[in-house]
């Protein structure tokens, strides 16, 4: 029988931390995104031509939301599981009648909810600066949900792998953020020289942003079906890694 109360307890505990640290959890990503709009949307964006018939300010909205959801999912989930490991309070989770899948649902569920909250707030904030269209709302929600869940899983893996705060930041800073910036948040892949276009196809974030942008404006760098397959593949890889962690008890159980 599933221990729903435990899942909910972990979920609520994690969400309570978000509301306890509203400035850090919500205000900070919203402010930094608003700054992107001011700089790239209004100041520089007004001098940049429309891309695929979309004004530059509007064009960057899906990319900015995806960038934030992606990084927030990773940081929320990695911190969520790493912190009890760091303080030692993980003993309580490990000795409770709760399975690894339930632990995962609590932490990843909360991390992905927080990321979605921030994503939606950014969407609302961006509507104050630029015109936004959402041509395919169902797909938009699906992409948003899949991205937040997949990258929360990825963050969970980082939180288990890390044995120090430096390591916790290592992959997000050195790999994820550059990939996210080079994933077409601020430009269309088609604007790149042919070689860099080809290289960009190895960047998984390109597929996420392209698909997500398609759900807004119906324009994409890559076929939306391929985008969906790409995110499904990342999700599958993350689930496999988590399954191995749970089977072996890697860094959780001696």
């Amino acid at each position: 029988m599933i221990n729903f109360r435990a899942i909910l307890a972990i979920y609520n505990f994690e969400m309570a931390r978000t509301f306890r640290t509203l400035g850090q959890s919500i205000a900070s990503p919203v402010i930094s995104t608003a700054l992107y709009f001011v700089v790239f949307g209004s100041a520089i964006g007004s001098r940049i031509e429309d891309i695929d018939g979309i004004s530059y300010g509007s064009f960057i909205v899906p990319g900015l939301i995806m960038l934030t959801v992606l990084t927030q999912s990773i940081s929320n989930a990695s911190f969520g599981i790493y912190f009890p490991r760091f303080t030692g309070t993980i003993y309580e989770i490990l000795s409770a009648p709760i399975s690894f899948v339930e632990i995962l649902l609590g932490y990843v569920g909360a991390a992905s909810t927080k990321a979605l909250m921030v994503g939606i707030i950014i969407l609302i904030t961006s509507a104050l600066f630029v015109d936004i269209q959402i041509l395919h709302p169902f797909w938009m929600i699906l992409f948003l949900f899949l991205t937040s869940f997949t990258f929360s899983l990825f963050g969970f893996i980082i939180g288990i792998w890390a044995d120090g705060f430096e390591k916790l930041q290592l992959i997000p800073l050195l790999i994820v953020t550059p990939l996210a910036f080079l994933g077409g948040s601020f430009y269309s892949i088609k604007m790149l020289p042919p070689l860099w276009q080809k290289i960009s196809f190895f960047n998984p974030v390109v597929y996420l942003i392209s698909g997500f942008r398609w759900s807004f404006y119906g324009k994409a760098d890559i076929n939306v079906g391929i985008s969906l397959m790409a995110i499904s593949l990342i999700l599958f890889l993350c689930i496999t890694a988590v399954a191995v962690i749970f089977k072996t008890g890697y860094k959780l159980k001696a």
Binding site: A6, A9, T87, S95, A96, P97, A254
Partner: protein, 306 residues
Amino acid sequence: MSHVIEISNLNKTYDNDFKALKDINLSIKSGEIFALLGPNGAGKTTLISTVCGIVNPSSGTIRVNGHNVISDFRKAREIIGLVPQELTTDAFETVWNTVSFSRSLFGKPKNPKYIEEVLKNLSLWDKKDNKLMTLSGGMKRRVMIAKALSHEPMVLFLDEPTAGVDVELRKSMWEMVHKLRESGVTIILTTHYIEEAEEMSDRVGVITNGEIILTEETSTLMKKLGKKELKIDLRSTLEKIPEELLKYNLSLTNENQSLIYFYDTQEENNGVADLINDLNSSGLKCRDLNTRQSSLEEIFVELVNQ
């Protein structure tokens, strides 16, 4: 009395090939207080952690109230409460929230009345809205106990519960442990304070180098291995022990005014009567006589050194 915990042929070898537990066989009776004694690194915490699900066993079986801790982990764990050695708490949480969180983790519905009762019993009620980081070490220790009791466990593991706790708090914890036992909770504790085990436990297990070398009723152990010390205070100072008394292996203390004699309480002829006779024959006059039972600590050191 039925056994609430049954451990058979339990082994734990860590990845670095360190054998922390070697073929442990141990049964804990329902409702008893069992003290696990052993030097640092003996395997006490590993044994507790393995029963509680924090450490994976390499081989062997553990049953809690008949439930296998691996295949039937939910049933096994829901009746166990654990107070770990380290003071690990969520610094920013309030006492009430952290205790309620623990209860939910064990799948129990909210019961504010019960939580209130636990907090009151542990003198934490007036601190219920305080953040854990504002509490003293002793108070944090109580919070850990409250968390472990939050889901009404049948078995409570206390890993060094009074480490770093002042004498007053230690005594009140002893009282609390006795009260818990009266309510039917089985208690397994590890401790470095031997008098704690002596004072509280019904049975003692001694573990060293990952092996349980002895389990015994505390009182029986005291009788079986306990030696008595006879201290004879003399009226005058002695330069050396007289020839006729050398066979008793006496030691001279207290500025050569006292003789110490160790004897086995279990032996029929323990030599006390002969010693008194020989003392009189040698012309030595006694001022006073005292006897003292050897402490569990002395027994423990003797066992570990065997």
